[in-house]
Amino acid sequence: MATPTARSQPQQDATRAKSPARARRRSSRTNSAAGYLFVAPFTVVFVTMLVVPLLYAAYLSVFQTRLFGGTSFVGLNNYARALTDPQLGDGVRRVATFFVVQVPPMLLAAMVFALVLDGTTSRLAQVARLGIFLPYAVPSVVATLMWGYLYGPDFGPFAQLANYLSLPAPDFLDRDRMLVSLANIVFWEFTGYNMIIFYAALRSIPVELYEAAAVDGAGPVRVAWSIKLPALRPALLLALIFSVIGAFQLFNEPNLLASAAPSVISSSYTPNLYAYGLAFTGQQTNYAAAVSFLLGAVIFAASCLVLVVNRRRAS
């Protein structure tokens, strides 16, 4: 994003220097009109698809519609109820655990892949890069169905292998292992995506730095440690924030695995599943809106935490 702005700056200066003052004013007015025109499509979609629904949800969240008794204004009651709702609390704790279990290995793996691929230039590296990225192109619903089959206690390949060796079949979907099984699916889906973010960051390191390092006699490990890793920092921050949002909004994977393990994945397994159930099973749209806003607040807080920790480390 930085490059086009930097490039347009001198051009603008040049135009300005040539044109008389009045023309300059007019052209800047047309410029701004054109600017509005350019952002209009985005703004329209952004407002109608995001801002308006958000405001509507906020509006809904301060009312209560009962099956018996109609609709009434309840102020912040829905929020108060959500704050003490044990099912919501369990769900938030569960996705927080999921974040801790899932995100560090995924980002570490993505970083290692990116460093290795950045350091090699063979044809094989290109194939590997595509191969690692490919799972991200598989829709998460399809990925979960696929893993659901692999985890299957009867005809999954692991179960069949265990049967063949006369060992007890591993149950990947029981209460203790479910979170790890889910983490594995998400790991498979998103490692390649994060790798691409890191890889792009590495490619943007100026060649001069490498040349200088070579002159100073730095080997590949030293280059990775002193040049590449510091350069990855902003990309890592970005990936972390995406991961916070992804983890706390976990929905598709548990929703689909619930049919295979209904007793493990309850209707409130993750906060998003809970909100969905509230709105569409319990018809408590208002309360679901409040729960969603609280979840949004939790995600916002977690993202801020990541930023603050990062800034403190940096200074």
Partner: protein, 467 residues
């Protein structure tokens, strides 16, 4: 009684009348009768309120006016029955839409009804969800369109299921699911077990069978299927709900004696490890039916044909029988089956009501539903048809399975009420009783947790739960 406040004038009149009946009953029984609301709910549909029936001229005029209707249903190829309707009424054009099965459809339906546009004129709704739609005044009372006269055409208990406490008729029954037992004749006879006729025999048989072969279970009690469990509660005589009273009182007793009896019974079998608890309609479950892991399937009247395609390789090995009994006279519960209901939002109430009526009462249409879509009929014209009853199915060794389930249908307890928030009740069942079944926890204690969750929900929804 409809708990929602938005009512049309006709409905208000009916409600006022029922209200006064309720008040009168309450006054009479103030001496200590514990449950006046239930008494009010029993008001005979025929006399609860006199609803003017439209004249034949009005109906004929409407049926000759070019009209477009939308019909949401998940019954495969029901277009053929609809074509019969369109043939009879050429002015009416019906668009059939499959909006998903069960919960999927209801979610879309509620969204459309809440949004105020996009809802169909006629929709397929299962019995247990009728009160949740009448509760929001979503369904049209079909009496002005001649529904009351058609009562005799339907199985008794189905008519009480589509009749509201205000006497309104809110749907036409289409198919039913009286519960019976399908069993593997070969597996049982090999183990020297007679098909159990009582739950006591069933428990003994479960232990014997599993002892002779630890890989075989007498049955699978699905840990994700509140509907099947509900059918077993229904058979045991549980009365989990009463009709909602005019002041919002609703009786909730999901942990009544009969419910706990069922829970204790299955909890015991699960704890002994002699029955399976796999989720049903999953790959593993289909496999279990095909490879003889489960020796019986406690299922509904729609089960026999379903099984014959789901476990094709086991043809000739299955037989049908009534459910094992607790004691006394044979009793059955119901699991599944659905109705055609007309949305209150329809702009063409006459044509829509006639479509729902035609599909489920026209002799040719009902025969097609039974013999082509294999829906177990709610219409007595088909259910008592000797040709239908005498069909011999090879999959069941030539047994007349329709006859078995037709006999069972007559033993279904007619007095069973659903809550106006049945999706929530079933969802809570999964999280409590269903989980206890898999974990082999105290299942009876789980019914208490189920009860308390549903009571909490009812309270947040403005009802007054009574136990």
């Amino acid at each position: 009684m409809t708990p929602n406040l938005r009512r049309g004038p006709a409905r208000t009149a009916a409600a006022v009348l029922v209200l006064s009946v309720a008040a009168a009953t309450a006054a009479c029984s103030s001496g200590g009768d514990s449950d006046p609301s239930a008494a009010a709910g029993e008001t005979d549909p025929g006399e609860a309120a006199d609803v003017a029936v439209l004249s034949d001229d009005d109906i004929t005029a409407a049926m000759e006016t070019p009209t477009e209707l939308t019909f949401w249903t998940w019954v495969t190829d029901i277009e053929n029955e609809v074509a019969l309707f369109e043939e009879k009424y050429p002015a009416i054009d019906v668009e059939v839409v499959n909006a998903g099965q069960g919960a999927d459809e209801y979610t879309k339906l509620r969204t459309a009804l809440t949004a105020g546009s996009g809802a169909p004129d006629v929709a397929q709704i299962e019995y247990q969800f009728i009160p949740s739609f009448t509760g929001a005044d979503n369904l049209l009372d079909l009496r002005p369109y001649g529904a009351a006269e058609l009562q005799d055409q339907f199985v008794d208990w189905t008519w009480s299921q589509v009749t509201g406490a205000d006497g309104g008729v809110y749907a036409y029954p289409q198919d039913t699911g009286p519960m019976g037992m399908l069993y593997r004749e070969d597996i049982l006879s090999e183990a020297g077990i007679e098909p159990p006729t009582t739950w006591e025999e069933f428990a003994t048989a479960a232990a014997t069978l599993n002892e002779s072969n630890p890989d075989v279970y007498l049955t699978n009690i699905a840990s994700n299927d509140a509907g099947a469990w509900n059918g077993l509660m229904w058979q045991a005589g549980s009365k989990p709900f009463t009709e909602v009273d005019s002041d919002g009182t609703v009786g909730i007793s999901l942990d009544d004696d009969a419910s706990r009896k069922v829970a204790d019974y299955w909890g015991g079998l699960v704890a002994d490890g002699v029955v399976a608890t796999d989720p049903d309609f999953t790959d593993q479950w289909y496999q279990g039916l095909s490879n003889g892991t489960y020796a019986t399937w406690l299922t509904a009247a729609w089960g026999p044909l379903f099984l014959s395609t789901a476990a094709e390789g086991t043809s000739g090995k299955w037989r049908a029988a009534p459910l094992p009994q607790w004691e006394g006279e044979p009793v059955a519960g119901n699991w599944g089956g659905s109705t055609s209901a007309v949305m209150a939002t329809t702009k063409n109430p006459i044509a829509a009501a006639k479509l729902a009526e035609f599909i489920n009462t026209d002799p040719e249409s009902t025969q097609m539903l039974a013999n082509e879509q294999f829906l177990f009929p709610a219409n007595l014209g088909v259910l008592e048809d000797p040709d239908f009853l005498a069909q011999e199915l090879d999959f069941y060794g030539g047994q007349q399975v329709n006859q078995v389930f037709s006999d069972i249908s007559a033993t279904v307890d007619t007095d069973f009420t659903w809550s106006p928030f049945q999706d929530q009740v079933f969802s809570d069942w999964n999280d409590t009783v269903g989980t206890a079944l898999v974990e082999a926890d105290d299942v009876a204690a789980a019914t208490e947790e189920w009860q308390s969750r549903v009571v909490d929900f009812a309270e947040t929804q403005g009802f007054t739960p009574a136990q």
